[in-house]
Amino acid sequence: MNKHVKTQASGTARLRERLDSLLEGIQIIDFNWKYVYINDIMLHQVRMTRQQLVGHTMMEKFPGIEDTEVFQSLKRCMYEREAVGLENKFTFPNGVVKWFDLCIEPAEEGICILSLDITPYKEAVENIRKTKSLYAFLSQINQSIVHYRSEKRLFASACRTAVEQGLFSSAWIGLIDRQNKGIIPQAQFGFPKKTKFPDFVAYESKDIHHRLMRTGQFQIEINGDQTLAMGKGYKMPTLISLPLFNSGKVVAVFDLYSDKEDFVKDEEIKLLQEVSKDLSYALDNAVMSKRQREAEAQLEKSEKRFRALIEKSADMKSMASKDGKLLYGSPSITRVLGYEYEDTDRFNIFDLIHPDDQPYYAAKRSELIKHPGGFFHFEMRLRHKSGNWIWCEGTATNLLHEPGVEAIISNFIDINDKKKAQKQQEFDRNNLFALINNTNDLLWSVDTEMKLITSNRAFDEAMLTFIGHRIRPGQSILHDGLGAEIAKYYGNFYHRAFLGEIFSETVELTGQSDLWWEISFYPIREKDNIIGTACHARNISSLKRYNEELKRTNSELDRFVYSISHDLRAPLTSIRGLLDIINEDTNESSTREHLRLINGQVDRLDIFIKNVLNYAHTNRASLNVSEIDMEFILHKIVNSMKSVEKSDGIEFHIHFETKVPFHSDLQSVCTLLENIVSNAIKFRDPSKQNPYVKISGSSTESGLKLVISDNGVGIPKEFHSKVFEMFFRLPGPTEGSGIGLYISRQIAEKLDGSITLYSEEGTGTTFEIHLKNLHQ
């Protein structure tokens, strides 16, 4: 640039003019760090004359510049020929601090520095930041006022807020002790951890606190000796001491430290005074609430238990403005509704209320606002932070008119569990009602004083029919109109239940034809006491009728079967007798053969009739249990079978051991065994040389076991499951009614036993019979 200046003088003059008139400061430094050129702005910026600078080095004019950060940038540009841009805070020798936006570029002579004074901009930014934080501080303090009723907590919060929101380095608050001329620190924040905080700070003549006390005004000290509170190690450029008032008297000081000298400006001081005022107000409140608490403490003595109860309750408290803005929320709100303390700032209480509950609440609330001191009860859903709804119930009180409160105060508790239980209960109750009403049976319960507790619809309707009106819960169950005798009759049932008996009774309703009821009683217990009885009545009239009918039918059938068997057998026996006579009289062999055939058919018919009789007997007759000499019975049965023609040549083996006398129904056992043995004979295998029927068994405590096996024709596998069916007959020429094994199984089951078949075609058949020993 110098070259240009030399070679083009006129141009250079114009350029210099231009450069001089630029708003940007320009300085050109040569490789020896000497000023080559400086424009007017720059001269103004540094407050020096051109003569003072040109030809001199930077180090000469600004001692210590080598150690600054900006010089490092200049060096970089000078030696590495690299353009650098930076913002720089520059403290002039006269102490003035300025901010510059620097643009350093390599030039022929060395480097060229363009500088723009951005101090006003910087200051504005800084001011905005500070003001903003002071506003935050003030508003926080405002919040604290309503949040803290205790002095100590109020102070602690104010100190913390001053540092966190107000950008102060540290803060402390102390109460004035006028007598001893000092301050008793109450709270502090932001001091180094090691700082030993004194218990008492005496104010000495003319020090900042002394001045504050004398004037009642805030005091500022910049770079003073005000280290008293913090001990020797703590010193800050700025200390602002704010007086806090109670009833017009300075009662405390609020000391705020800043690491910036010029921290406070007029408008900021106004804000801080606001803080001081607000805190004073809060202090008034705190003192008031302290008095109130003292009064409450008095009350507590007489109502200690009641108070304890109240205080332990998890109720939530809120204060809201006329239009619903939440001014204060107790910590329990966080616990129940999940919102953090910070969240609650922005709330309008209507945002929390379930849309369905809003109209009612809004109506009630606007009504309340018209009545100072009035209150209303509410039950509504509030939105939990998670989005769920929590049922709450409580009271809203209008204290808008109350100085210092000016809010709608609400006390409420979480009744979600209660609601849930209520819902469940309601569901259970509806469910139960549906169940007990969906029956024609009568259901009711009675307490020990004979009063109806509850009843179902069927019961109510029945009462209407029987006694002409309903019995309502709480009314006596033994209606006066019943008459003494009937009342005593039913009363006796209830008394039995009250003594703990569970029982059922069949009752014929008097005055009602053929109306039978089965009434069951079941005591209701509460811990060890019986508090009543549940009753269940069932109309069993039709059941009874059916039973009677069935009995009649059965006995008719019995008589019928009996007379049939007799009437059928009588002619058969007559035929037999006549056949015997003919047989005696004739010598004709063909006649005798015919007689034998007729006899066979008569026998077959007779056996069938006997079987039907046995079947009827098995099904109808009750068991006639007696001791049975099994060995004797087995021999008797086998002997009676031996007269059957087909048994010729069959060898019978009987082996029985009576370990314990066997008891059962004799006739049934005989029928069962006769059937099995006669089958063994009937199905003998004519192709076998030594046909046999073997019977072995024993009787024990538990019962009888008999195995009857033969070497007859056997039963094909496919019929094993069928042989016990009624009227099933094996294919082939053998005569039979197909009822024998069916009856046998019926009998076995009736005698608490079983009958099992093992058989192979061509080999033989084995029946295993188990019968229970019915002795007792």
Binding site: R569, A570, T573, S574, G577, L578, D580, Q667
Partner: protein
């Protein structure tokens, strides 16, 4: 066969069924069991006969076959009335209940009667008659 059998002086058969009565009396006659055979189709008539002949030891039966189910007086009712006769008269007579019933109750009732020797299922057979001692 008939030579082996003892001869009863008087034999009484009570049965309302004419065929059964015929069969029984026919066999008794054929086997020559009785000197005198009394046939009654009614228990009441038989009872009347016994009452009328209490004093005539030759008219008193030594063997009686009594059916159970008869119109009017049944065999059991007859036996109940019979029980009222003097012991020495009853001692002289052997009584069998004969019936086509195989009902256990009937059988038990018959066998439990001290005046009855046993229950006999119908028909009356030569084997049965010859077994009577």
């Amino acid at each position: 066969m008939k030579n082996e059998n003892p001869i009863f002086e008087v034999v009484m058969v009570i049965d309302d069924n004419p065929i059964d009565l015929y069969v029984a009396t026919r066999l008794i006659k054929k086997m020559e069991l009785a000197d005198k055979l009394l046939e009654f189709s009614s228990a009441q008539k038989a009872l009347d006969y016994l009452r009328d002949n209490q004093d005539d030891s030759h008219a008193w039966p030594a063997l009686m076959l009594v059916d159970i189910y008869m119109p009017g007086m049944s065999g059991f009712e007859f036996m109940a009335a019979y029980d009222k006769f003097p012991e020495d008269l009853k001692k002289k007579c052997r009584i069998f209940i004969i019936s086509s019933s195989i009902d256990n109750t009937d059988i038990q009732k018959a066998e439990n009667d001290p005046n009855v020797l046993s229950f006999q299922e119908k028909p009356v057979t030569p084997e049965f008659l010859s077994s009577i001692k």
